[in-house]
């Protein structure tokens, strides 16, 4: 029996807001509503990293949330995929270059699918999740190395910074 084929039948989603404006989060919740009803694909919004498969991140990574983002990513058991949901999570969006945040979540954790839009449409989110499921099926149970563990944080202007650490280990994921 091929167990991997059941992954795309029951993707459990963990949704994390890394300091966004809540616009994309509203659209994610709209996916659960009767109009879009993503539960018909077996998706559940679990809220528990230890039991989920898909990490759905919204918002630019603020300096407050980046440690938690990596922590949550490390707690999801493999196989797992990460979706950057919205312009902020993909590139930093309108917050890019501000003193309190970073440009997108891919500086901290490896991202599989980028969903554009500010805020994203529910249709786009569903499409992104469906693409993520195709990736999820090809992934293995092997331990993915946590980005955070690979490099010591830089001390920069009296604050810890882990900027650009994803670049250094990206070849391992591709």
């Amino acid at each position: 029996m091929k167990l991997a084929s059941y992954r795309k039948k029951s993707p459990w989603i963990l949704h994390y807001n890394a300091g966004g404006c809540n616009g994309c989060d509203i659209e994610i919740l709209a996916c659960l509503s009767p109009k879009y009803d993503i539960e018909r694909f077996g998706m559940i919004n679990t809220g528990n990293p230890k039991q989920s498969d898909i990490l759905l991140v919204t918002g630019p990574v603020t300096k407050r949330s980046r440690e938690r983002l990596v922590e949550i990513y490390a707690q999801i058991p493999e196989p797992k995929v990460v979706i950057a949901c919205g312009a902020c999570a993909s590139t930093g969006g309108v917050f890019r270059g501000m003193y309190n945040c970073e440009g997108g979540i891919d500086q901290y954790i490896p991202v599989d699918v980028y969903v554009c839009g500010c805020g994203t449409r529910p249709e786009q989110i569903i499409d992104g999740v469906v693409q993520a499921l195709a990736i999820l099926e090809t992934k293995t149970k092997e331990l993915e190395e946590s980005v955070r563990l690979n490099k010591e944080a830089l001390k920069e202007e009296s604050q810890l910074n882990r900027r650009n650490i994803a670049d250094e280990i990206k070849p391992a994921f591709i």
């Binding site: 009767p34 018909r40 694909f41 919004n45 809220g47 058991p77 493999e78 149970k141 331990l143």
Partner: protein, 272 residues
């Protein structure tokens, strides 16, 4: 006998059907009927992560002891024994939750312990009422009684209906699980194949609760089926239409309304 062996499968089907019914009540389409089994197979394929070995072991023992309690109930064993075996299985889960360092897990364990306090006295009073009527604590006596117990102890049935949502962690009494607030409570720290034990134990709980409901039908199979279908729709309608109450409200409601209903029923049974 076959029912005991197939109990997880039946419970899974009940759970899948329940998710469809709940979705239809909200005008959604809902997942496929076999969705719980897809979840099951997917969880088997996840990487194994455990907090520590005793935690995982207690989780599996929770499943085993619950199945054992269900087996004793379906074989017509002692009702008091069944209730305490069920208590044991829940206690194992609470121990597992306390053995981790997660604060959510501890909160969930606290609330599960409180919900035991809410439903356990009512179940025991119902068992004593059955003893008063049939002269035996055996479930077999209730299953074989000529006249359905429902008509002799309707108040006890209402009391059972009021505590079943606590037992199955349904709204308005779902403080123990509290999805998105405690994110599962006691089951929080389980993952992968070890979460499967907890997930399947939930299905067993469905079979257990519907077997308790069936006790009230005596040897009337049609009435039993009717009661189970009624309870199923009642639970889902209640789950969809109510909001979560706090544990204090739950405890107060259960110990005043449900407990006194069951107790009045016991008084009437013992007087007549």
């Amino acid at each position: 006998m076959l029912l005991i062996l197939l109990a997880p499968v039946i419970g899974g089907l009940v759970y899948g059907f329940e998710r469809i019914i709940k979705a239809r009540m909200q005008r959604r389409i809902g997942p496929p009927l076999l969705q719980p089994f897809y979840d099951f197979f997917k969880l088997a394929d996840k990487r194994k992560m455990i907090v520590h070995s005793a935690h995982a072991f207690l989780g599996i023992m929770h499943f085993v002891s619950l199945w054992f309690a269900l087996g004793v109930l379906l074989l017509g064993g002692d009702l008091i024994l069944v209730i305490f075996l069920h208590l044991l299985s829940t206690a194992l889960l609470i121990l597992a939750a306390y053995s981790t360092r997660s604060i959510f897990s501890h909160l969930g364990a606290n609330r599960t312990a409180i919900s035991i306090l809410a439903y356990e006295p009512v179940l025991i009073i119902i068992a004593v009422s059955i003893f008063m009527l049939t002269g035996s604590f055996d479930a077999a006596a209730a299953f074989q009684s000529e006249q359905p117990l429902l008509f002799k102890m309707p108040l006890a049935f209402i009391a059972l209906l009021l505590v079943l949502p606590i037992k199955l962690k349904k709204s308005p009494f779902d403080v123990a699980e509290a999805h998105q607030e405690l994110t599962g409570g006691v089951e929080l720290e389980f993952s992968g194949i070890f979460y499967e034990a907890i997930y399947t134990a939930k299905w067993l709980d469905y079979v257990f609760c519907y077997a308790l409901v069936y006790l009230f039908a005596g040897n009337d199979v049609l009435l039993g089926a009717g009661l189970i279908v009624f309870t199923f729709f009642y639970l889902n309608a209640l789950d969809n239409s109510t909001a979560r109450v706090s544990y204090k409200q739950m405890l107060r409601f259960s110990l005043t309304v449900s407990f006194s209903l069951a107790f009045i029923n016991l008084l009437i049974n013992s007087l007549t």
